[in-house]
Symmetry: C2
Subunit: 400 residues, 2 copies
Amino acid sequence: MAARKKAPAGPPRGRAGKAAKKAPVAAGDVQARNRKLDGSTVDLIRKTASGVHDEIRAHKKPDLAFPVRSLKNVSYSQNTGYFEMGRHKKVRTLTVNTVKSFAQTLRMMGLSKELVESNDFATKRDAYYQSKNWEEARFDDQTESDTVMDDIEALFSVQGLSREQLRFVPDEHGGAVAGRLVVLDPDRETGEVERIDCTRFGSGAYSIPSSVEQLSFETDAKFILAIETGGVFQRLQSHKFWQTANCILVSMAGVPTRATRRFIRKLSDECRLPVYAFVDCDPYGISNIYRTLKVGSGNAAHLSQFFCVPQTRYLGVTPQDILDYRLPTHPLQDVDVKRARDALKNDPFFKVHKPWQVAIDQLLKMGVRAEQQALAKWGLNYVIDEYLPAKLANPSQFLP
Amino acid sequence: MAARKKAPAGPPRGRAGKAAKKAPVAAGDVQARNRKLDGSTVDLIRKTASGVHDEIRAHKKPDLAFPVRSLKNVSYSQNTGYFEMGRHKKVRTLTVNTVKSFAQTLRMMGLSKELVESNDFATKRDAYYQSKNWEEARFDDQTESDTVMDDIEALFSVQGLSREQLRFVPDEHGGAVAGRLVVLDPDRETGEVERIDCTRFGSGAYSIPSSVEQLSFETDAKFILAIETGGVFQRLQSHKFWQTANCILVSMAGVPTRATRRFIRKLSDECRLPVYAFVDCDPYGISNIYRTLKVGSGNAAHLSQFFCVPQTRYLGVTPQDILDYRLPTHPLQDVDVKRARDALKNDPFFKVHKPWQVAIDQLLKMGVRAEQQALAKWGLNYVIDEYLPAKLANPSQFLP
């Protein structure tokens, strides 16, 4: 039962051994592009600040206009493939009442400028504590500094700059990576490039850093497999599934963090690799994990252009898999049913894709859900020997 | 403000560059020891099953005695340094009423034997789904199979075998590691040893696998720094603090997982390295994160002998640091006060260590808590340039 059932079949086998070289975007190009982006970031901050300064000197009232960050200001573009922010803006004018938040916004931009210039970074929490030395402009609560940072991020996103380019990085852990990939990471101070070969970590893996903008890649893999659970990732990694299937494995560990999403997006874009998602068949796996990975989330649409991975397709577990593979199931809870109905009724993504409406309807009618590890009913390595090879033989069948 | 204040001072500087070799326990020895343990595991399972079989054939009623897993059956031993399980047992006798759980227990042991023999592994969830093919012995709910697995684990822990040696591995993600360390990991199938140099991950890190029993280490580091937050870990890693301070950094990301705790324990034991914990100064950081890392937790005392790290000492942030470094604070919430009072009154660990009683009393009197990132008030890299060097100059001052 624990033993394998038969020899692996399915997708073409990759060459065994080390990840071979293929560098669609060279490390030097990435560094040059990042230096250019850093220049634009500093220019934009300087321009914004000068504008305010000039207005004040001219005895006018300066203002700053930020895109509205809310579901009402979001649309789903089939063209770009992700949630996009609309044109609504909120204008903050310098008055007696707004002087503190106005000053805080400018100091926060100033911090970003310093960080870019010193090639350093700060988390949201770091930025909050930094402000404790800003005297009257200090924040009393981290929710206040988070809001200001989100506003600045939204403002600069209109110019194509992400929060990471402003050097504000997430506090959260990145996902784990293994497989046919070499990550190139230039040293912060010397610029010397470290080559990180993701075929060489034994049963362990490469842990994605908080910010991935400086990375470039070499790979001959055919696709990226984004996996929901640590358990399935560890199984595929320990059994070197990436070697057999010639791919790159990424563990999302639930809803993927910003760093994980950005990493997958950048890797997929720069190496032109398809991304396949392998998650639990339940409304959470479909409408939270998969939907967030692919098109972003409604209340953070200003992030989508950088963080979502519109080229992702849904390998499984599908509602039809539950029948085809006679998987053990759990009944859908009320919260699952509500989440599925919400997706059908209100989610711009699912409303556009007919195959998803059919699949979610099918799940609701069956009234059950199944975890990806349910495949272990047929043997612990059934997922490696049977399920994934069968699926990977027909990527055109994947849900959109 | 974001720039460094002055040159690093404090602990002796390590040699720059790659982690040098020092292999207190050679990879071959670890493999030989693991093969021996595998032999004992299979023998024990066989002996237990034969005992039951013989009783049945002699028309007697077989029974299995499991250690009681509860706080009432736990003591804190200053000698070993961790929570220990007492001698209370619950006896499960084969009767008409217990036949199903009796059979499930034996099948679960059988699964473990198969896993050891095929050098494979299963998570709790895998094991649950495997049982779906055990006909009448299948589990209806994962809580049932988890309980049986915990019982078996407790039973074998008395013989010095951990759950990982039974090949049951956690589903959860391991922590991230960077610094002066080479991890040696033999391939599951070929036994060929992969050398993983944790100085070579750029801004990323080494992600600890679910099971670490097969690993061995080479290092010339002077200590292990176990860090609560991903943000501080990323700062220390990006600025290569491990090079300046000659150490190994481990990100716990909150309460450390089993794999992370076991990794630190094994690394510290085999390389005789002190472990210093760097966490938030609040009752959660002290009594949940630090206490769990050091002595284990009350309701899982059967794990302590494998998972706790009794040699850990508390570097900071201490209540006294809040005063000495004039840190920004948050008021203690009711839940914090309750947790701190519980620790003083009921926790066998804190009841034994007077310096902790003084420190927790001080925190309660001050009525505030401080996060480790609060040091960013004095500059983002103050933690690297001032705080840690000052602390590391006097490890004898660390809390026990």
